[in-house]
């Protein structure tokens, strides 16, 4: 089991300072939920962690490896840290099975047979054993998101980041996806989840972080953050979303 540690991470887009010195820990086997208002920089933070964006300042560690070291290949980092997006980002021109196989074949260099077996196993794990040959456009949103989770899992990552994985889904699909994620959490996967699903956070999260204005405002157990927040900004945010 692996962990992520971020220290003093800063990132600006032009004049806009999005991350203003973020310290964040995702402990081994922990499910960490990140909540916060729109535009507060949650997505930017996750993208910095797997180097889809290069932070301007600060260090990010995976276990004890400094990912921000310029000698580290970003491709290697992304292979270790899976990512699931709000818009799924499945490869439109590939079937579900091939979506999962692509990186196994060309990043992990598995042979076709092994890659195919892994893809089938992972798609079975998320309940899509009967959709191997469907193209993304032929799947519902919830099914696409589960393919995306299978694609991330197939790489055998040490940590998985979820960026609002259920925000683009209808209520029924949300439950399917959350069920898969909940199971992953129980199996001991280290996960950082940006979400507004309070039910999920209360049930599955070990710890919740309230993020605003490019900083961690408050952290604690789900109960502490949702019910007994200390900070007034957290309180007003919770009032808005719990209403």
């Amino acid at each position: 089991m692996s962990s992520i540690h971020a220290r003093g991470v800063r990132k600006s887009f032009g004049d806009l300072e999005v991350l203003r010195g973020v310290d964040l820990d995702v402990n081994p086997g922990e499910v960490l939920c990140i909540v916060g208002p729109s535009g507060s920089g949650k997505s930017t933070l996750l993208r910095c962690i797997n180097l889809l964006i290069t932070p301007d300042e600060g260090e990010i560690y995976l276990d004890n490896i400094a990912l921000t070291d310029p000698h580290i290949r970003p491709e290697w980092v992304r292979q270790q840290i899976g990512m699931v997006f709000q818009q799924f980002n499945l490869f439109t021109h590939l079937s579900a099975k091939k979506n999962v196989m692509l990186a196994l074949r060309h990043v992990k260099h598995l042979d076709r047979k092994k890659a195919e077996a892994t893809a089938k196993a992972q798609l079975g794990r998320v309940g899509l054993a009967d959709k191997l040959n469907a193209y993304p456009a032929q799947l519902s949103g919830g099914q696409q998101q589960r393919v995306a989770i299978a694609r991330a899992l197939a790489m055998d990552p040490k940590v998985i980041l979820f960026d609002e994985p259920t925000s683009a889904l209808d209520p029924e699909s949300i439950q399917d996806v959350l069920a898969v994620m909940g199971r992953l959490g129980q199996e001991g996967m280290t996960m950082a989840v940006v979400t507004h699903e309070m039910g999920f956070a209360k049930e599955v999260a070990d710890r919740v972080i309230f993020f605003d204005g490019g900083r961690v405002i408050e952290e604690g157990s789900p109960d502490e953050i949702f019910e007994r927040a200390g900070h007034e900004r957290t309180q007003s945010f919770m009032k808005k979303i719990l209403r």
Binding site: W76, M83, F85, F91, T92, L102, A137, A148, M155
Partner: protein, 344 residues
């Protein structure tokens, strides 16, 4: 399940008389179209002939032919002259097709490179901001390359082909006034070069558009699973680009085919030259000459479009490229695929 809800009508009229209790007696047999596993749209019930697109295309062609024959009977031109002389244009027509296709194929490789350069405009700040030295100063060679590509495309698209061709041919004629190579004289080669330059410019824009219309999310998804930039390009961007540009590239071939008529101004004996010099002037049948030309172009271009559309349809991946037009509700009712009235 009620058959009406399947959206498929069996050969028998819908069973309004079948009591709902039937459900309890066992599963309702599926219509044959469903049992055979074929999509219900084309199987089982044959659509009435007058709702098919083929019928309307046939109607259009028949109408055009009728006008064509009627004008002939009225004495506007001599139909029999056209019938007798059409085959003499096959040789020049093939030469036109050669010019079009050679320039198009040579153009593709250059256009691909130019389109690729144009799809990624250099940003000094973005590159300078990179950590380490790798790629940090790449704007130093990216800028001139991008500038050249953009200037080339702007020039080709912003000036008439006739002007481009004359500049190429006249300046080259000073250096190589006369030669024959592989059976073509100097003007054929100059013309081919001009046509290649022209189609390269247009194709470059097609490639640029195709590359840029691959969604950013696709690239992000590829990066997130650990693919390198090169792998992402060849495994994600390129396959999707090819599906997105099939139609615009076909349009460019057709456009190039029509542009090739201008080579006649260099006395290249392609099909326009033939119709003008041989038929219109020598044989004194001007209208017939150009009608024959129109027949040639129309036949080839319409055939090509239909073949490409067919290939696109067969090789289609859902969610990528030209969408299949939705069949309207009314049309589906007329074809017998849906009941006329939705039942409550």
């Amino acid at each position: 399940m009620d058959r009406q809800e399947d959206g498929i009508r069996s050969a028998r009229p819908p069973a309004g008389d079948a009591p709902p209790t039937r459900r309890s007696t066992g599963p309702v047999p599926l219509p044959s179209a469903v049992r055979s596993g074929r999509p219900p749209t084309s199987a089982g019930v044959r659509p009435p002939w007058w709702t098919t697109s083929g019928f309307y295309i046939g109607l259009g062609v028949a109408g055009a032919l009728a006008v064509f024959v009627a004008l002939g009977r009225l004495g506007y031109y001599d139909i029999w002259f056209i019938v007798d002389n059409l085959s003499s244009g096959f040789g020049p027509l093939i030469l036109s097709l050669e010019f079009t296709t050679y320039s198009f194929v040579i153009g593709i490789s250059f256009a691909f490179g130019l389109g690729l350069v144009r799809a990624h405009p250099p940003k000094v700040g973005k590159h300078l901001a990179r950590k380490g030295t790798r790629g940090r100063f790449s704007f130093l060679w990216r800028w001139p390359l991008y500038g050249f590509a953009t200037g080339f495309v702007a020039t080709v698209r912003g000036t008439p082909f006739l002007v481009q061709m004359n500049i190429v041919a006249i300046s080259l004629a000073y250096v190589y006034p006369q030669f024959t190579f592989l059976g073509w004289n100097q003007f054929c080669w100059f013309g081919l070069l001009a046509l290649t330059i022209n189609t390269t410019g247009y194709q470059a824009e097609v490639f640029r558009g195709g590359i840029q219309s691959v969604e950013a999310g696709q690239i992000e998804g590829a990066k997130a699973v650990g693919l390198t930039r090169t792998q992402t390009f060849f495994r994600i961007t390129l396959p999707q680009t090819f599906r997105l540009i099939t139609l615009p590239l076909t349009n460019e071939w057709i456009s190039n085919f029509k542009t090739a008529t201008i080579l006649s101004a260099l006395t290249v004996e392609e099909v326009y030259y033939w119709s003008k010099e041989t038929i219109a002037i020598n044989d004194v049948h001007p209208i017939e000459g150009f009608v024959m030309l129109a027949i040639f172009y129309l036949l080839i271009n319409v055939t090509l479009s239909r073949v490409v559309t067919y290939i696109e349809k067969v090789r289609r991946i859902p969610g990528l490229g030209t969408p299949i037009p939705e069949v309207s509700y009314t049309k589906r009712v007329l074809r017998g695929e849906l009941p006329a009235r939705a039942r409550g």
